[in-house]
Symmetry: C2
Subunit: 335 residues, 2 copies
């Protein structure tokens, strides 16, 4: 269905299936903020010409280990898939290679990209900027992105995959709790006056807090600067174009990959896997279910949902069905 909608709006078969896969991976991994709930915005952006199907992206090796990518305002997932292959191939020679991507629409969750690289034996890092939803530590105005970082490595049977935003909570989760009338966790957000709040309505008019206080702020800000500098994209409130339906995309993405074989390092996958088992098997804190390794829960969710299906809120489902009918009607009218 997602593929059909995107095809009707001009996406190529590859673009449509890669974009659909990026959205479905979000839902499969339990990260609904990156799931099909983003389809309506993508459709609006396609209609407004802000995402350009069939756009050709330009990837240039500005230096031996550095790929500069202009996405041509095309589908982010489509661009990123190709970039991932290019830097993997290059790292086989240079040991380490990076890509700085601008003018590409939202990539979706970073986890699938770095996981793919780690499954191929590589060490991968990814950084992205996003709309300014987070207040600086000590401040109250949303001036910093939720800027996620993802890191993956081969680690025994399944790779280690961490993928986290540097905000204490996602905007999607704030909205979801507002719709369900649930409180936010303490410390996750402030109201318009900068006072800590657990009320999702107040938080929606205020700002998300950085995770982990001043340290989480430092990390999120470092990502904001690193990505903006290397990708020549925007900073703070001038980062636009993944949540709105009005502005060209001005966020950036940085992907980095180490090829351990090219770097001449001894095989480490089994050794890392054994250490992660040591952590999982270590005594739990009182009242805790025990240690879970980043990526474990996501993988368990993914397996369960592949088996049982993805539960979607009824409202979203109705919206998606209406969206499809609208797109189909337009297509018939054109035919």
């Amino acid at each position: 269905m997602i593929v059909d909608v995107l095809r009707q709006l001009g996406a190529s078969a590859d673009e449509a299936s890669e974009q659909a896969s990026a959205l479905v991976e979000g839902d499969l991994r339990g990260r609904h903020s990156h799931g099909v709930q983003r389809l309506p915005v993508i459709v609006e952006r396609l209609r407004a010409g802000l995402i350009r199907p069939g756009a050709s992206h330009h990837a240039t090796w500005t230096a031996e280990a550095m790929l500069s990518v202009d996405g041509g305002f095309g589908f982010g997932a489509h661009v990123a898939r190709r970039v991932v292959e290019m830097i993997s191939e290059r790292a086989a020679r240079t040991g380490l290679a990076a890509a700085a991507i601008r003018n590409a629409s939202h990539l979706g969750m970073l986890a699938p990209y770095v996981e793919y690289l780690a499954t191929n034996g590589l060490v991968a890092l990814a950084f992205t900027t996003s709309e300014a939803l987070v207040h600086p530590w000590g401040g109250r105005v949303a001036l910093v992105g939720t800027n996620p970082v993802a890191i993956a490595l081969p680690a025994g049977g399944e790779p280690f995959v961490m993928d986290m935003a540097t905000g204490a909570i996602s905007k999607g989760e704030v909205i979801a709790r507002r719709l369900r009338g649930q409180d936010l966790p303490p410390g996750a957000a402030v109201d318009a006056e900068g006072r800590p709040t657990v009320d999702p309505v107040a938080a929606d008019r205020g700002a998300i807090s950085p995770f982990g206080g001043s340290k989480g702020f430092a990390l999120g800000l470092a990502i904001e600067l690193l990505v903006a500098a290397l990708t020549e994209t925007e900073l703070g409130q001038r980062v636009r174009g993944t949540l709105d339906v009005t502005d060209p995309v001005t966020k950036g993405d940085v992907l980095m990959v180490f090829d351990p074989v090219a770097c001449g390092v001894q095989p480490f996958s089994e050794r890392l896997g054994a250490y992660l088992r040591e952590l999982r098997d270590s005594p739990p804190a009182p009242g805790s279910q025990g240690v879970t390794i980043p990526g474990d829960r996501m993988r368990a969710e993914r397996r369960r949902r592949l088996r049982e299906g993805i539960p979607l809120p009824e409202g979203l489902w109705r919206e998606l069905v209406a969206l499809r009918e609208g797109v189909d009607r337009e297509a018939s009218a054109r035919a």
Copy 2:
């Protein structure tokens, strides 16, 4: 005085002054856990042959952008200074270069290295493993290092420099508060049974908590794996040799540098500086002094202490004086 002590114990003039500078920088920047309080351990490690003055390190470009460094159990600061020059020079051609360092003693704070690189117009990242002092999220046993990350970029007048451990508090701070009979901040540590505690005596027998809950744990763990994999060094409780006086060093360090000119990116320093001013000038949260940018406080401390001197606890001062007298006596006896 530090230089004299290290010289008496066999360090070359360069080794001694670089090690001394690394320690003094810790104190100047208000990070006493990385300051001269580490000198007694360094002296013991020198006496035990665990730090080897005059050791030659081997640095090999295993791939075009990847430098593999065996520190030969020499002084970490001495090794790192040279490595920083090598990767800077290489990045001028490859755009991006990294070094994986093993068998080098403690580097000291990471901030001075990345700050130096950013002052030279480069974008720098550094990751280090350290002794397992932090419990995994959901667990209670110290199995993960306090693994710091540092990131620096040119940003107007002074570079942006963030340098933070992934533990909620440093071991040095736990000890300092124990000595002064002060409580720890809530959430910073657990006791031996894994219960949150603000008692530094109980925390000393327990474990430090990761900063920022499960996300901080994810970041610290990713650094543990990344560094161990690329530098062929140890994991978890097998990481030794920066706090003890008994074991060879088994931690690793990863340094990465982007050369923006080589990468062909447009100058960004002024633009980042303007954004940081925007953050500093933004409205403060109620009760806050306003937004401080990572590195601001450290720089202010450094300037003040260069002017006014570094306050040291009397006990530490007496220990250092005794240390020097002991080393001098040994030298006279040998002469």
